[in-house]
Structures are given as C-alpha cells and as structure tokens.
C-alpha cells in the first residue's frame, strides 16, 4: 500500500483509546485501529505529509520517509517531539507493521513500548516507528555507517537495535560504524551468524559503558575505536578488517 497522508496527533481521548485497544487483545484489532486512526474527532492534523510505500519495509526506508516528512521546513520539525504524533503513526501503521497478519500480533501488555510513546520515555528506541526515525535522523549524514541499526525489517529490530540504538551515545558515530563493521556482513547486508555468542553487541555496549568514565570514545575515529576493543572481539575485528578492507 502506498501512503500519502497528512500526519495527525492524537488528543487525550484518542491516545487513551489507542492504549485500550492495544491492551484489549481484540481479534479485530486491525479494523479498530484503522477506524481510530481515521477518526477526526480523536486527532488533529499537523502540517506534515507522510509518503511511504509499505513494500519498503526496512527501518532505513520508514525512517527516511518520516525524516522527509518532519524536515519539510523548520515549522514541521517540532512535531517530531510530540509523543502523540508517534502514537497516531503507530496506530495508522499497525496493520502494515504486522504484515496484515493477525498471527504476528503478540499479546500486548504493560506499557507496550513497541507501539506506545509516553512523555519522557527512555525506551523510544523500542518503538517500531519512532525508533526507525531516530536511528535514521541521528545518522543522516552517513546512513551506510549506521547500517547495523537501519537494515532490519521494521517488525523485527533485533539484538543490534536493542543494544546499539538503545543509548544515545552508542547510536551515533563512531560506535554505529564500528558495530556495522563488526556485525554486518557487507556482502549480504545481514548480520553474521553467531553474533550473540562471544564479542556480542551486548558486550560491546557494556564495554563502552565501562570505559566512558575515562575515555572520550565519542571523539575517536571509528578505526581507532575498533583497535581499542579487548580480545573478546578479536574474531569480529578480524572479519571486519578483512571484509571491509580496513587494513
């Protein structure tokens, strides 16, 4: 399906109803959310147009489409800070995100961070729509370097997004470039098999969290940071150098 639609922001009533439908476990959740997204009493239009082809399902594609919507002019950018724009978008795209397959919709409980954005959330990276936009926006100057958090299908962000996009200091250069070199096979544009065995994305995140007390790693060049990694990452370092011709 091709979208070309003015973005909207839920009002309190729309936002509340969205949460209720998500948590209801309804068998007609797609239809109910579609109806809510198009109910003009539950949301207000904002001056930003969203254009997206749902066949282009990567986080890069969706993030790029959203980035284009919010950077139309200076006035539109502020709407990207509005949680209820993201909630409305999640409502609008819920069916597409789940490939129009009700069997893919999990039982939603708790604060539902994959679909619901709350004020001052620290888990925005888990939101399937906002997370794609943020990863794209943070690396718009070098999207290839951020391939580790942009290549995934929007429905399945996976371990790399959880560990690398989950912290602002990791989700930008130089860390995204190092993680892309370490974990993404450039020939297949997919993660190497076994990245959750040793020298994992979680270990990378923990290692950088440890050294950040003393090392300003954010100002280092990606190659310098790659060399700084401890022996646990040796296997991935070697493959990164070989497959990305870094030597």
């Amino acid at each position: 399906m091709k979208y070309k639609i003015n973005l909207r922001s839920f009002n309190d009533s729309g936002r509340s109803e969205f949460e209720q439908i998500l948590l209801s476990g309804s068998k007609s959740i797609f239809a109910e959310l579609d109806a809510l997204a198009s109910d003009k009493r539950k949301s207000a239009e904002i001056p930003a147009v969203f254009e997206w082809d749902s066949k282009e399902r990567s986080r890069l594609d969706l993030g790029g489409a959203l980035h284009a919507s919010f950077t139309t002019n200076d006035a539109t950018l502020k709407f990207a800070d509005d949680p209820n724009v993201w909630n409305w978008l999640a409502c609008l795209l819920f069916k597409e995100i789940h490939k129009q397959d009700l069997n893919l919709v999990p039982k939603i409980k708790g604060d539902a961070p994959r679909w619901l954005v709350r004020e001052n959330t620290i888990r925005g990276h888990r939101h399937l729509v906002l997370g794609s936009y943020t990863s794209y926006k943070n690396n718009v100057d070098d999207l290839g370097a951020a391939n580790c958090i942009l290549h995934q299908d929007i429905f399945e962000p996976g371990e790399l997004v959880e560990r690398i996009a989950g912290k602002s200091s990791l989700s930008v250069m130089p860390v995204v470039q190092v993680a892309t070199w370490l974990y993404i096979d450039p020939r297949k544009n997919l993660p190497y098999a076994g990245i959750t065995s040793t020298g994992t994305p979680q270990q990378l995140s923990k290692y950088l969290n440890q050294i950040e007390k003393n090392v300003d790693y954010q100002s280092m060049k990606p190659k310098e940071l790659l060399e700084l990694l401890p022996p646990a990452f040796k296997r991935w370092q070697s493959m990164a150098k070989k497959n990305n011709r870094l030597v």
Binding site: D81, V172, N214, V215, M220, E224
Partner: protein, 252 residues
C-alpha cells in the same frame, strides 16, 4: 578545595567547581558555564568541553585549552530541542601517550535558571569575567553598550550569589545612567530600553528631555545633571530592592 576521585581515577567535579546557569528570554536561550579548577593540578594543555544532551539532541561545544583555571563561557542553546531539560556535561580532556582521549575531570548536571543577570543579545546588562581588572567589578562601555566586568576569581561566586545583583548596586546604575545621558555613540535600541527602565523605576523623565545628547549645557546645568544622575541611580536601586514584583514584570 577538595578533590573527588572516583574509582577510575577521574576527578568528579562538584557544583562549587563547575556550575551551569540557564538564561532565557522570549527570543534567546543560553547556558553559562563557570569553572574554578584551582588546586586540581590539571595540565595546561588539557582541553575543556561542554556537552548538552536532551532527549532529542546532543551538542558539543569546544571551549579551548585550560589556559585559566578559573573562567566562564556562554553558549547559545536555543536550537537544542527541549534545552530546558537538557543535561550538561563539562569535561577536561587530555590524550594519553597512545593518543586515546582521556577524561581527566568531569561534571554532569542540570542548568539552574539565573535570575537578574541576563545575556548580551536580549538583556540590559551584559556581564563577563575579566582577568585583567584589579577591582572586584567595573562598568565599561564597549561597542556603544555598558558591560559589567567582574574579576575572574570572583565571577562565578558573584553571579551565583543571591546577595549580588548588579542592577541594585547604585554605582552600577549611576555609571549606566551617565552613559545614557552623556555618550553620543551608543546602541540606540539598548539605550531606549535603559531609558524605559529608569523611568519605570522613578527617574524623572525631564532628566532625559533636558540633558540627554544636549551639546549646549552650561557648567551649572552639568552639575545639576550630575546630581540628578547620582540621586536617580540611588532611588532606582532602592526601588528595585523594595519592589521585586514590579521589577519582574518589567523584565518579563
């Protein structure tokens, strides 16, 4: 001055060593970082940096070398979304022998709103740290506008003290009133603001009508003007001290 070393050997700076002040108006938002790193034996070659991190943005401001252990800088943060809730991190950095940038000292915190002292773009009175003046403070005229220079070693303490407010010191107001009356080359927009300020706080309008920019004054009228300026400044200072509500209204 005490030194807080954390378990990694990095110095954790405290509020008395580094502070962040937020100065906002309708059009501008600035953060003023002040530091006093005396007694920490940090290398002169170390680099200073300020980092502002909000939910949506991170900005890095390079301050320069640690030339002076005491200093202050002001940065425009208006373009940072949600700047009011941003975290500010001040760092002292030095590369090790392998070129790895080490954080020798660090302070992270929120910016406190500074009241009473505003910034050059919007405010009546700009303040700045000056290591060359011998006295505690001095009003100087630069580019047609009055600036309050404060001795570097007192700058942070004075600006963060609730007992110091440059606008209620009669001598500061007197010097500004002199600038307003006598100086030909002045920033007219700022001069109008100051005139409105003085009139709102009790200075007689005829002081400006009669004496401002008038080249034909006699010696006697100059003496009258001098007296009116001096007494007017005193009255304004008194008025501001006793009428905080009115002053806030004016500043808003």
């Amino acid at each position: 001055m005490s030194t807080n070393l954390n378990f990694t050997g990095r110095i954790d700076l405290v509020a008395s060593q580094v502070s962040f002040g937020l100065v906002e108006t309708d059009q501008t938002a600035e953060v003023r970082v002040t530091w006093d790193l005396r007694g920490l034996f940090l290398p002169k070659s170390a680099m200073l940096r300020l980092k502002a991190t909000s939910i949506f943005d991170t900005r890095v401001y390079e301050i320069g070398n640690l030339d002076s252990e005491v200093g202050a800088e002001v940065f425009d943060i208006k373009s940072i979304r949600n700047y009011a809730s941003a975290d500010y991190t001040f760092q002292v950095l030095e590369p090790d022998l392998n070129g790895i940038p080490l954080i020798k000292a660090n302070r992270k915190g929120k910016a406190e709103t500074l009241n009473g002292v505003e910034t050059p773009q919007s405010s009546l009175l700009e303040t700045r740290s000056n290591s060359e003046i011998k006295q505690a403070w001095k009003v100087t005229i630069e580019d047609g506008r009055p600036i309050l220079d404060i001795a570097s070693d007192l700058h942070r303490e004075l600006l963060s003290s609730q007992f110091f407010d440059p606008l209620v010191i009669p001598a500061v107001l007197e010097r500004i009133l002199e600038w307003l009356i006598w100086t030909q080359e002045k920033n007219l927009e700022l001069a109008d603001k100051w005139e409105e300020f003085f009139i709102a706080h009790g200075v007689q309008r005829h002081l400006f009508d009669e004496f401002k920019d008038n080249p034909d004054l006699t010696f006697e009228s100059l003496k009258d003007a001098r007296f009116l300026i001096s007494s007017g400044a005193g009255e304004v200072a008194h008025h501001l001290k006793t009428n905080d509500t009115l002053r806030k209204l004016f500043e808003d």
